[in-house]
Symmetry: C2
Amino acid sequence: MTKTAMNYLSALPLRDVRLTRGFLAERARLVRDVVIPYQWEALNDRVAGAERSGCVHNFQVAAGEKPGKFHGLFWQDSDLAKWIEAASYRLATHPDPALDAELDRLIATMAKAQGEDGYLNTYFQLVEPHNRWANLRDCHELYVAGHMIEAGVAHFQATGKRTLLEVVGRFADLIERTFGVGPGQIPGYCGHEEIELALVRLARATAEPRYARLAAYFIDQRGRSPNYLLEETRRRGEDKLPWHMFFDGLATLQADRPVRELAEPVGHAVRQMYLLAAMADLARDLGDASLRRSCDALWESIVRRHLYITGGVGAEPYGEKFGEPFDLPPDRAYAETCAAIGVIFFARRMLELELRGDYADVIERSLYNNVLSGMSLDGTKFFYVNPLEVVPAVARRRYDCHQVKTQRVGWFGCACCPPNVARLFASLGDYVASLRPDGLALHLYAEGDLRFTLSGKEVRLAVRTDYPWTEEIAIEVRPSEPAEFTVYLRIPAWCRGAWVAINGIRSSAGIFPIASGYLVLDRLWQAGDQIVLTLPMPVERMRADPRVSAVAGRVALQRGPLVYCLEEADHGANLAAVRLPKDAELTTRFDDALLGGCVVIEGRATRLQPGRALYDAGETQSVGLPFRAVPYGLWANRGEGEMRVWLHEA
Amino acid sequence: MTKTAMNYLSALPLRDVRLTRGFLAERARLVRDVVIPYQWEALNDRVAGAERSGCVHNFQVAAGEKPGKFHGLFWQDSDLAKWIEAASYRLATHPDPALDAELDRLIATMAKAQGEDGYLNTYFQLVEPHNRWANLRDCHELYVAGHMIEAGVAHFQATGKRTLLEVVGRFADLIERTFGVGPGQIPGYCGHEEIELALVRLARATAEPRYARLAAYFIDQRGRSPNYLLEETRRRGEDKLPWHMFFDGLATLQADRPVRELAEPVGHAVRQMYLLAAMADLARDLGDASLRRSCDALWESIVRRHLYITGGVGAEPYGEKFGEPFDLPPDRAYAETCAAIGVIFFARRMLELELRGDYADVIERSLYNNVLSGMSLDGTKFFYVNPLEVVPAVARRRYDCHQVKTQRVGWFGCACCPPNVARLFASLGDYVASLRPDGLALHLYAEGDLRFTLSGKEVRLAVRTDYPWTEEIAIEVRPSEPAEFTVYLRIPAWCRGAWVAINGIRSSAGIFPIASGYLVLDRLWQAGDQIVLTLPMPVERMRADPRVSAVAGRVALQRGPLVYCLEEADHGANLAAVRLPKDAELTTRFDDALLGGCVVIEGRATRLQPGRALYDAGETQSVGLPFRAVPYGLWANRGEGEMRVWLHEA
């Protein structure tokens, strides 16, 4: 193990991170109590009025347990796989014998459905057995396999049971035999990345490095000449690429060139993020410096040129793609919930490569804004697309806003986002902290208890905070015996003037170093040591780089990690006419009756008044109005109406 | 003739309005010398590299003059008809025996192609004779007939020859027998309006009111229940409407309800404007007060809620349609050249109903901005779509900007706009002035000579001006003998503080009344009387109604009738970062080396500088830069680059 490798970080086991109270814990509870049970009903076709899923049915048919036909799209199995993953995370933190038994039954069915050779994909088994691996470009076959593998790993890690792990292991072995550049092998890869990061998880869970090498094959082969996906297209006798590849061709799938030659994120945003997550994994596990350089370059480009202030990516609805650098229109944002989750996946892996605050800052930004927006306050409805500005009448009327929903919906025909939100919120513990050989790093602040072992000594951290509403985070350190190690506390980039007190003694500036965005508290910790970190959260008027033409000259309000927005519910229609005076005093207040309880930003604004003509040379008249901004992630929980993040100043 | 009717206005014959020098005359000359000859070559398939037209070929085949097949789309004939119209206007103002003879030969061929019963449409004659009138919704059959009729009228008025007029008269007679609610008649109307306004022109040219009644039938029948277009759709066994009607259904064709019930402009913008032009015509010729009320309401709505500052309409590219009120995004504007021409058609007819400055103001706005943008400085290239903001890289990449061309092109597959520009610029005389029983009204100011007769007395007006560059318009009145009549001079709404001098004596305020936007000069005119009108043209910072969300908080520079824009050629890329200080002094200067000679607006602006991060809480730094705005209508004549009309202030 090299020096560098020693500094790699790893997540704590989920069961050792208990979020007990507060904002994130409440979302996790919703997912446990509402979302996961609801989705199980949906996957079993027992939700009246919802679109039929067919997922469980398909496996029962494939297992010979019942007669019937396959239902759904060719990636239908992945909905079930993501749910198994989420349910497993739930079991890890909140044991539940009934759910455990339900999973066992389901997994038994899945094992029966698996082919002799290890193949498992109910669409191709039931509908097109002769076309197995024949259309890697479109059919998501390896993508579905990847989600199955993630489910198997999560189930094993949560329960210790190897039942599903063995199923997916056999499938992975088949894939290993099938794909490659050897004789008789298919030199292909999947049109939708996912298998790569899944194989790394499998390699780690089984301590079988060959799965990581298989992932590396898929990464290395991607985009090489001669191009496999083009050859496959020709072999099928097709004379053109499908519609969603019209503008960017194979770059839509990050397959126009070898991945190490990518300079900008490109194509389908979720695919790009899943690819990068796998590249970061392999940069670590295989010590691949050239992959690391590509990850660094793409990270830099995403964060500097392609990230919405809400932490979303994918500005181009057509093909759900990345757009031109700095092309980040608020009203026509795609900013798919799954793509922001992909950002979080990539950022966490970069963070595990190197403890750098900007990685965790982006995780926090995406989680508290774009991803949060993806789920309703009651956990029953979801956004697929997360614009930063909506005028419902226009969104309904304009074709170029047709992807925008003005209200969250219960389920989607293409139901990728709801179970992705579920598995993320069910595994929040993976993002809260990481262990290093020399200590523990806290990335996200949420009330709860953490447990870990360092040099054979057990340590508990008890975190008490109302973050993100309040500025103070109290941490009690409880080593089983006095121990020297480092507690790294992230100082978010949005925060200026953070300070810390240990056992009531406030540190002077400079006593504790800040390295790469983390406060470094290195000392001999005694049981009962108290750290109090204060992260001042003034309301900030954020401005975008002036190359973001769509919002040039506007400001977005941010307090702590939360981006704020105006809603029609508070101001009436035509939010574009509301002006925030440059000198307006903005106050904050916790309103426990609003949106489940949240800090609102208030002040006086002005509203431009319609004049006599559509265009006029005079100054536009305005009147004052009370102004109230609410967290963007909580928007659209009070009926349909306009919403606007980027505001005009007066 | 009622009192009201007596005040109706009419255009002077084209030959009596000679534009001799200056900005508009130069465009008219380009059309005469470049566009009309070029288009004739294109219509004869003699332009190397251009898409094949087939127009003349189709008529020769239909006439039995040559063997061959029909080429093109089912409205192909209309390209030729619009060209005949433009060529006829050219003959009216600039006699040309060669062109005259060419037209005679063409018309002889067309007459031979006409069916025994009067039918004339080469597509249906050569390709689908059995489907005549079977798909009024899509096939533009009456639309093409309308353009044929306009061509016949224009040719007759220009040359006095009845050759083509008789052809189209026989066709109109067939249409009259075919359509209606009588026994054996088709109770239908065209999916694309045009026949209606054409029939009014035919009625006036032939003094046959029955053609106006036929137009009235088409107007009255449109959108009535049971809906003819729906019945026709069902009869063809189609189970859904075509894609472009997806959002608005029959309203896309203004056919979802009787036209008198329209409250907002809706659907395909060109169709809506052609419909309104015909409605205004009929309100006049038939004294139909309910049509007049609808025209008034729609005019008000268009001007107050749907008009781009450039005088364009149609904000929704999908289906080339009107959008929601106030939804006028600058970058995704459709603002089709033909739609702005339609605005001018409608406005002129409203103006002929009632002398009101706002009608002529809109003509001027649309002509000098949106329509002017439609044609390149050299007359060889055209825009179909006229956005108010372009970033070429983004326009090429984003699907929702795919309609935007960053450079004008030579011809289009659907070549409606170039010949429409040609016929408008070839008939500018129709818009310059109108005759009333009591005098003459001048709407547009351009150097030239006008000739008219009032109460039997011949009058000439000699106009000398460099408008729109200079503020002064000198008019010499030359009645054949002293005569009392009124000269109405439009005082544009953009102008404050206009003043007039007669024979060197400057009028004091209030001496001459201004009525509905026109200065009323009523006196006994002597030969040689000199009027000098001065229209001060300071640079104005125009602001849109704050309900125009897309440009709320921005300003557009306007001087006189011209809207200005920034171009990358003068400022480099990223025009969104350029800020116009609120107190910046703006000067104007005629630059005779730029864009064929034009007034530029200059001053000092600032440019926001990129910061360290994509989003930042600090004030954005900026640097000063010289600033130069050029007339919007002349943009994109200096290579590809960004362009921006709506600017941010600092």
